[in-house]
């Protein structure tokens, strides 16, 4: 089998708050391969965000080893981590994090500001435009965030995240601020990106969202509780079954009414 692009070995994260020590992650081992589509689930406080920040190189473990591709990022210096975030990782946040005064195109361009090797002005612009096309916003390039709907904002954020063809696309509760219809739209976009070969990790507490993923990792108290293909995860499976029944019932009702 191919080498995993993410290898976590014995990852521990300890926070000290006053005299208390909080074990946010305990001796965690995890492998993620190229083109996987992983949901990280768990109750509030189980360590999802901590794990995500670690994977996204925003944070470093208290102990343990993190390999991204062939590189040991758990021992890198801050500036090296910044470069990894710039090139190898794409982040999508729950609250979009777009700069209000910048157009969609300028927002997407943002990571290129911190890259010395992204080519000239035109090349950068063209890359940002291509990323916006990929998320279906080719016709909204000059709109500012306040001229966009919630779903469109999150697409701009996704375009920004995939701009540099990152090794991993990470999203922490990407649909947390969106309504059901828009959630479906964004999940469809993730599914499409996954089909195009993108490795994706999504943090969520909604089974609905996890159902679109291929693999579900459940955390509890900083440990991995279960790690199963989505269709084998009992909660996700029962949710999908429930949704199917509801769909069928709705269709039947519609049929009866007609």
């Amino acid at each position: 089998m191919e080498e995993p692009i993410i290898q976590l070995r014995g990852i521990t994260k300890v926070y000290r708050v006053g005299v208390e020590t909080i074990h946010a992650l305990r001796e965690l081992d995890l492998d993620i391969h190229r083109n996987e589509f992983v949901a990280i689930m768990g109750s509030s406080g189980s360590g999802k965000s901590t794990l995500m920040n670690m994977l996204g190189c925003l944070d470093r473990p208290t102990s343990g080893e993190y390999r991204l591709g062939s590189r040991l990022v758990s021992s890198m210096k801050p500036d090296e981590l910044a470069l990894i975030r710039n090139v190898d990782i794409g982040f999508v946040f729950q609250s979009f994090e777009l700069l209000p005064r910048q157009t969609a195109l300028e927002n997407v361009e943002l990571p290129l500001m911190y890259s010395a090797t992204a080519g000239g002005f035109r090349a950068r612009r063209a890359r940002a435009a291509a990323a916006l096309e990929r998320v279906g916003l080719g016709n909204r390039m000059d709109h500012r965030p306040n001229q966009l709907s919630g779903g469109q904002k999150q697409r701009v954020a996704i375009a920004r995240a995939i701009l540099s063809n990152p090794k991993i696309l990470m999203a922490d509760e990407p649909t947390g601020n969106l309504d059901t219809a828009t959630t479906g739209e964004i999940l469809a976009l993730f599914t499409q990106l996954h089909r195009e070969g993108q490795t994706i990790i999504i943090v969520t507490h909604e089974n609905d969202v996890a159902a679109h993923c291929r693999r579900v990792v459940r955390l509890r108290d900083g440990r991995i509780l279960s790690d199963l293909p989505a269709e084998e995860d009992p909660e996700v499976a029962s949710h999908v079954a429930g949704a199917r029944e509801a769909q069928a019932a709705r269709l039947a009702a519609a049929g009866a009414a007609a």
Binding site: A82, I84, F93, L99, P111, A116, F121, S164
Partner: protein
């Protein structure tokens, strides 16, 4: 996919794109908070504008004075009465210091390096022509050598002659302004042959001299001047009066020699012994220039102090506004770090923002200062026609403005650069 060498150390760096974007964003930030930015930059604007105007005025005055001095040449000498320092008033009374006309005669006779000498004595009198009356006009008593010593020839008519002085003829020279103000040109002769009444005596106008553009020292609102032979002026004088001499050396090269000769003659005239200090002063033109230059640099230093204080005040304003900006944009900083900004990139970005603001303030200040300098040139009689902002002042103003941005933007920028991205992104 970004295919990168496994062993090679990751290399960061900033591109021209970074600087362009940063400055663009700084400008849009300034534009979005127009009022706030303006108020913040006000200290710098006012400081730069006022110092620019002061420097422009001084530069103009200097050019004017120097060209005026140079045009008369370096051969001119002035003689003043002067009480020596550190000597009690009672020991050397004024009577022993003041210049006498015999002394001028002695100098004229006994100084081979001198081309000519003239006393100068001012009397204030009311002047009457056939149609006009002017109160409190300045009348100067002179000798014929005055034309050479001061460098003012007659435009029309004739200069004073030795005969005018020796026979105390009631003749007068007037300048163009006096012709104008006293309406002396009624007969169409340009004023020559007309008469003026001075202190009850009737004077024949024999010559007209050029009007100086504003007198060097003193700011009489009227530029009219009337000159009479010294011997006549003496009769108009009552009691105490102040006299000085103006002399001209044969050439600028012998000016120093001429000065020494005058000093020698005067000391002998006054019977001063070796130990006695001079009771007069002979000043060459360079001394005036030097005096003026040191005055000018004194004023420049004071102006520099003022600008220093206003830049300091402006700088504190900049620091305050940048701290506010950093805290307002904490989430933005978190995001920038999340997408790959290094701490030094964030530091540089906020520094550039501060510098953009201060430089803009400096530029606005320069423009206002330039306009002020321009308006100075229109003040009549202020000797500031040549007021202009010299290039070095522009450079200094801009360098200082940028320096204030760097100095006072450093702490806020450092704070921004130290923010932890995770916490910054959680910030409300």
């Amino acid at each position: 996919m970004s295919a990168r060498g496994t062993g090679s150390a990751p290399r960061g760096g900033l591109s021209g794109f970074f600087f362009l974007k940063t400055i663009g964003m700084a400008l849009s930030q300034i534009w979005a908070n127009k009022t706030r930015s303006f108020l913040t930059a006000l200290g710098i604007i006012v400081g730069v504008a006022s110092v620019t105007a002061v420097i422009a005025a001084l530069t103009g005055l200097k050019t004017k004075v120097l060209t005026e001095f140079e045009s008369v040449g370096a051969a001119r000498l002035y003689v003043f009465p002067n009480r020596p320092d550190n000597v009690p008033r009672s020991k050397i009374p004024w009577e022993k210091c003041r210049l006498r006309i015999e002394e001028a005669r002695a100098i004229a006779d006994q100084c081979p390096s001198l081309k000519g000498i003239s006393p100068l004595v001012d009397i204030t009198l009311s002047v009457e022509s056939d149609t006009q009356l002017i109160e409190g006009m300045s009348i100067t008593g002179i000798w014929p050598a005055w034309h050479d010593a001061i460098g003012r020839k007659v435009l029309r008519g004739r200069p004073f002659t030795q005969i005018d002085v020796e026979t105390a003829r009631q003749v007068a020279l007037v300048n163009e302004a006096a012709v104008e103000e006293l309406s002396l040109d009624e007969a169409g002769s340009g004023g020559i042959g007309s008469h003026v009444l001075l202190g009850g005596r009737r004077f024949l106008v024999v010559g007209v001299v050029e009007t100086l553009q504003a007198r060097m020292f003193g700011m009489n609102s009227s530029q009219a001047e009337i000159f009479v032979p010294f011997s006549v002026a003496e009769k108009l004088l009552e009691g105490w009066y102040f006299m000085q001499f103006v002399a001209i050396a044969r050439s600028p090269e012998v000016a120093e020699e001429a000065k020494a000769e005058i000093e020698y003659v005067l000391r002998r005239q006054r019977g001063l012994t070796k130990e006695d200090p001079d009771t007069f002063r002979v000043a060459a033109i360079d001394q005036f220039i030097n005096q003026f230059k040191s005055l000018a640099s004194g004023v420049t230093a004071i102006a520099g102090g003022i600008v220093g204080i206003s830049l300091l005040v402006g700088g504190i304003g900049i620091m305050n506004i940048m701290l506010v900006s950093v805290s307002e944009r904490t989430r933005e900083i978190g995001l920038r770090k999340a997408v790959g900004a290094t701490s030094s990139a964030i530091l540089l970005q906020f520094l550039l923002e501060a510098v953009t603001l201060t430089l803009l303030g400096g530029l606005v200040g320069l423009v206002i200062g330039k306009l002020m300098a321009l308006s100075l040139t229109f003040i009549p009689g202020a000797n500031l026609e040549q007021a202009d902002v010299p290039p070095w002042a522009i450079a200094v103003a801009l360098v200082f403005s940028a320096g204030v941005g760097v100095l006072f933007g450093m702490w806020p920028a450092y704070k921004a650069s130290r923010l932890d991205p995770i916490e910054a992104l959680r910030h409300e």
